[in-house]
């Protein structure tokens, strides 16, 4: 159990956000994390994080570092970038900072999971919290993803958990749709193999079959897809599971559109929810907090004095417009394309292991990891908010450091006004 409130801890190692982790502490370190998967165990480690403050590679007083951060983001065009492993409370403070500075604001989402969100903004979506899949889905279709790889407990906790309100464990049909080398889980009792070039056509045909169009006389793989669609339409509650994050091989950008449309269409003859797998570290929380504070889930520009949406310019491209960037969160969670685009910019990092960032930086202020050293809210991949505890003491909290930067920024602005 976690120290403090006696509640089980919440692992942010992936978007599953398993909240049944029983932590054992020894000597102020995490000695065991029962129920955690291998990914979770690696995420917790023993809870050790550095607690350094550096400016230009030299240890610094925090106030001086904070001043330098404020000067960097207040001195010209800047970006505030939300990286993983911070609480939503810290995300809110970081968004406020971007608003105050008239900066660009973005998160890991714009270079990773943006495609699915943009489809959702064009079409809407049919979705569910993970418990609905567990409790109701008598048919689960894994589309080009085996959750066991990057979301190790998704199957056991959410998809195939035998304790359910409306379906028995033997009553689930589990289907894998393998697209090229992107294969579904081994637990599937039925499989459909599609060549990557056939995927989008198959999704269109499946949708046509669901709404009752004549889709006969098709070549074999597409005929099998249409047949699968008809079976889906006869199930009571269908869960379609896909990976919202980019994989090792690029997927057809129209996959997300096809899946969203298919899931919506299935709600005519039956019920269906699309489950989009998301990575951990409270990435979904960044989308959520940005939406309630700005109206947009990522790619925001405060340069005009109010939020403007720039979804056509992900962070990796938008960095070309700025002179300085403040990364808030774990630098190791920054996508490679964004890391590449940092070159030539003043870079400050406030977050867990900031001082060990795998890219050049000017200022680093180490803070704690959400759910290990910092308590607050973090969101599961399905946007369910969870309370993450502080398990052990750590470096200064991200929120308090950000508040110091904001205060410095305000003081600077007042000084300039005088």
């Amino acid at each position: 159990m976690s120290p403090g409130n006696g509640s089980p801890a919440v692992c942010l190692g992936c978007g599953c956000a398993c909240d049944d982790i029983a932590i054992t502490l020894s000597g102020g370190r995490i000695a065991a994390a029962a129920n955690a998967c291998a990914l979770g165990l690696a995420w917790y480690g023993d809870g050790s994080v550095p607690s350094r403050v550096t400016v230009n590679g030299v240890p610094s007083a925090r106030d001086a570092a904070v001043r330098q951060v404020a000067e960097a983001i207040g001195g010209g065009r800047a970006m505030v970038y939300l990286a993983p492993d911070i609480t939503t409370e810290a995300q809110r403070e970081a968004i406020a900072l971007a608003d105050r500075a008239g900066a660009r604001l973005d998160s890991a989402t714009s270079d990773t999971a943006a495609i699915g969100i943009l489809v959702g903004q064009r079409r809407g979506r049919a979705a569910a919290t993970l418990g609905e899949l567990r409790n109701r889905a008598d048919m689960l279709v894994f589309w080009a993803v085996d959750p066991g790889t990057r979301y190790p407990r998704y199957l056991s906790r959410y998809a195939l958990n035998p304790s359910a309100t409306h379906v028995t464990s033997g009553g689930r049909a589990v289907v894998a749709v393998d697209v090229g080398s992107a294969r579904g889980p081994g637990e599937a009792k039925a499989r459909l193999a599609l060549a990557p070039g056939d995927e989008v056509a198959a999704l269109g045909l499946m949708r046509a079959a669901v709404v009752g169009r004549d889709v006969s006389e098709l070549p074999a793989p597409l005929a099998a897809a249409a047949d699968l669609a008809r079976r889906m339409a006869q199930a009571r509650y269908v869960g379609i599971v896909h990976d919202g994050e980019p994989g090792s091989e690029p997927a057809d950008p129209q996959r997300a559109e096809g899946l969203v449309a298919l899931a919506q269409a299935l709600n005519g003859p039956t019920r269906c929810a699309l489950s989009s797998l998301r990575a951990g570290g409270n990435r979904s929380g960044a989308d959520t907090a940005m939406t309630w504070q700005t109206g947009f889930p990522f790619a925001v520009d405060f340069g005009a004095g109010f939020p403007r949406y720039r979804p056509d310019t992900p962070a990796s491209a938008a960095l070309g417009e700025v002179a300085a960037v403040l990364i808030v969160g774990s630098p190791e969670g920054v996508p490679p394309a964004v890391v590449d685009a940092l070159a030539g910019r003043r870079v400050a990092v406030i977050g867990p292991r900031a001082s060990e960032a795998p890219f050049p930086f000017e200022v680093a202020i180490d803070t704690g990891v959400a759910g290990i050293h910092e308590a607050g809210i973090a969101y599961r991949m399905d946007d369910v908010p969870l309370p993450v505890p502080q398990l052990i003491p750590g470096p200064p909290a991200t929120v308090s450091v950000l508040k110091s930067v904001a205060a410095m920024l305000r003081a600077g602005a007042k000084g300039a006004a005088r």
């Binding site: 959702g120 064009r122 809407g124 309100t165 939020p307």
Partner: protein, 551 residues
């Protein structure tokens, strides 16, 4: 602060119907954030001579701070792009203000600023899935000015349905009490009782109150009676807040009346009644059933309503009522979000627009006005647009104008599609015009009383110093859209029509006592079926003191 510790608002025409004051010219005194009988002669003053003084507005039913609202925000980037909101220039020393975006579902800071700009100081989000209440409280933390709370959705709760099905409805009061306290909610909300569970389980919907849920004996009637008795037995400050079955369907007034009759003798609040007052159906054209339904309300003092007025223009329909949103999606072809929420409820969203040339939209507009104008007791008929479902809360001033000025109604009628209006009261020419005092009742005093907020909605000694001062204007909509002064807990937040301060509001929530024996069974239910651990479910850090009820 933000404002003087003492203040005398001088010489306004005060409309404080809860205290029997109807336009009398008098001073209103505030000390330490509360209304007092008098302040010393040298206290600072605010000149309200020639102006109208009312308590701060109280919104009993809106959707502005919830997971569902945020899904709606995410769905509407085009609206937000079209309505940017710069950070207001607050008075020096009052902290930084925030920019945002508007549209039908504004961002949190903009929501607080805009409510304040209308003179509203208290509001409730009317539909929060308990599982996501933590999110609502985080949004409310970022919604300035408003004293605010939320209603917890319970009408499709898996645990409750199981208790009713198993003959264990006696557990309901303890479960309801625990759930309200656990998630920091203020009242019990029932949306389409049993119908959302039917939508999720393949039955699609329940449209009549004695229609059983699946193969069980659970009916909407059983759910309603169980929850009404629980809320009333617990002596909650607000009774169950009911969104009836069959919302938005032709002929649904039969279901609405059956629901009201089922709860006759029990305190209950029926929300956005306009959406539940349709005649016709089964081949007959849509028509108004407003007069029949409001007759019931007029005759039953234990029942109250808010109207859910439709205003012509853009809206966003956002509701837990998943099946009705699917229907709207399939008939409108607009984009659509559905999110099933485990063990509790659902969420549906479809952006919409009410067009004055559309016959059904015009009928909806007329029905809302008929409900207002045929109501005999304004204390039980609250002004709402079911923001953002019938229109934005920003449309309240225009709605007030329609209520106060028959000529404005007639002008609108000339532009509207009259096809379905024949036989309705509005077409027959309702002459009634609301007085300022009646407006003060339906926007402040009435909702405050119905919510059990003893310090809101009036200007008597001990009330919160929430005061709105309007400059008189022949253009009623303009008068109510831009108050000259607004005070929140004695702080002058709007000066000369400009937002100058944006203090954090209070959280309004209840914590009824209950027999903790129920938790053993609830925990077992969580362990078996919930993906969130029982110990991680409650929201532990809801700000402010709850209203404690019972032991």
């Amino acid at each position: 602060m933000s404002g003087p510790e003492r203040l005398r608002i001088v010489g306004g025409a005060v409309h404080d119907p809860a205290n029997g004051v109807d336009g009398e010219v008098r001073d209103v005194c505030i000390e330490d954030g509360r209304i007092v009988a008098a302040v010393p002669a040298g206290a600072p003053t605010l000149d309200a001579r020639g102006m109208v003084v009312m308590p701060g507005g109280v919104d009993i039913h809106a959707h502005f701070a919830s997971s569902s609202c945020n899904h709606a925000r995410r769905l509407l980037p085009e609206e937000h792009t079209a309505d940017p909101v710069r950070a207001p220039e607050l008075a020096d020393g009052d902290g930084p203000s925030r920019s945002g975006t508007g549209g039908t579902v504004p961002t949190t800071f903009s929501t607080g600023y805009r409510y304040a700009g209308l003179g509203y100081t208290t509001a409730f989000d009317a539909a929060v899935a308990p599982l996501t209440a933590r999110h609502t409280h985080a949004e409310l933390d970022d919604t300035p000015v408003l004293d605010a709370g939320c209603f917890a959705l319970m009408g499709n709760d898996e645990y409750l349905i199981r208790q009713i099905a198993g003959g264990e409805a006696a557990r309901a009061p303890d479960y309801v009490a625990w759930l309200l306290g656990a998630v920091g909610a203020y009242a019990v909300k029932v949306v389409n009782p049993g119908g959302i569970e039917a939508w999720k389980s393949g039955q699609r919907n329940l449209t009549a109150i004695d229609q059983p849920l699946g193969s069980t004996k659970v009916t909407p009637r059983a759910i309603l009676e169980t929850l009404a008795d629980a809320a009333n037995g617990l002596r909650l400050p607000h009774p169950i807040h009911i969104h009836c079955n069959s919302l938005g369907q032709a002929g649904n007034s039969a279901t609405t009346l059956a629901t009201m009759q089922a709860l006759a003798g029990r305190r209950a609040h029926f929300t956005h009644l306009q959406f539940h007052c349709y005649g016709g159906g089964a081949g007959a054209p849509w028509s108004s059933a407003a007069s029949t339904v409001i007759d019931h309300v007029n005759a039953h003092p234990e029942h109250s309503v808010d109207v859910g007025q439709v205003m012509f223009g853009p809206a966003t329909t956002v509701t837990a009522d998943g099946p009705v949103e699917y229907l709207l999606y399939s008939t409108s072809g607009r984009k659509w979000v559905n999110i099933d929420i485990e063990l509790e409820t659902g969420c549906g969203i479809v952006p919409y627009s009410y067009k004055e040339k559309a016959a059904v939209a015009t009928l909806q507009w007329a029905i809302g006005l008929e409900l207002f104008l045929l109501a005999k007791d304004p204390w039980r008929v609250v002004l709402s647009t079911d923001h953002p479902n019938g229109g934005s809360f920003l449309a309240y001033p225009a709605l007030i104008q329609l209520l106060m000025d028959r000529s404005a109604r007639d002008e609108q009628l000339k532009r509207a599609n009259p096809k379905l209006l024949a036989g309705g009261a509005i077409a027959d020419g309702l002459a009634r015009e609301y007085s300022l005092n009646e407006i003060a009742i339906v926007t402040r005093a009435g909702p405050a009383r119905l919510l059990g907020l003893s310090r809101k909605g009036h200007l008597g000694v001990g009330a919160d110093g929430d005061v709105t001062v309007y400059a008189r204007d022949a253009d009623i909509a303009r008068m109510f859209s831009s108050p000259r002064y607004v005070l929140k807990a004695g702080n002058l937040i709007v000066e000369e029509g400009q937002l100058r301060r944006a203090p954090q509001g209070r959280r309004l929530h209840v914590r009824p006592g209950f027999d903790e024996a129920v938790l053993k069974d609830v925990r077992r239910h969580f362990d078996a079926y919930s993906t969130v651990a029982f110990d991680n479910y409650a929201v532990r850090d809801v700000p402010g003191d709850p209203v404690r009820i019972g032991s």
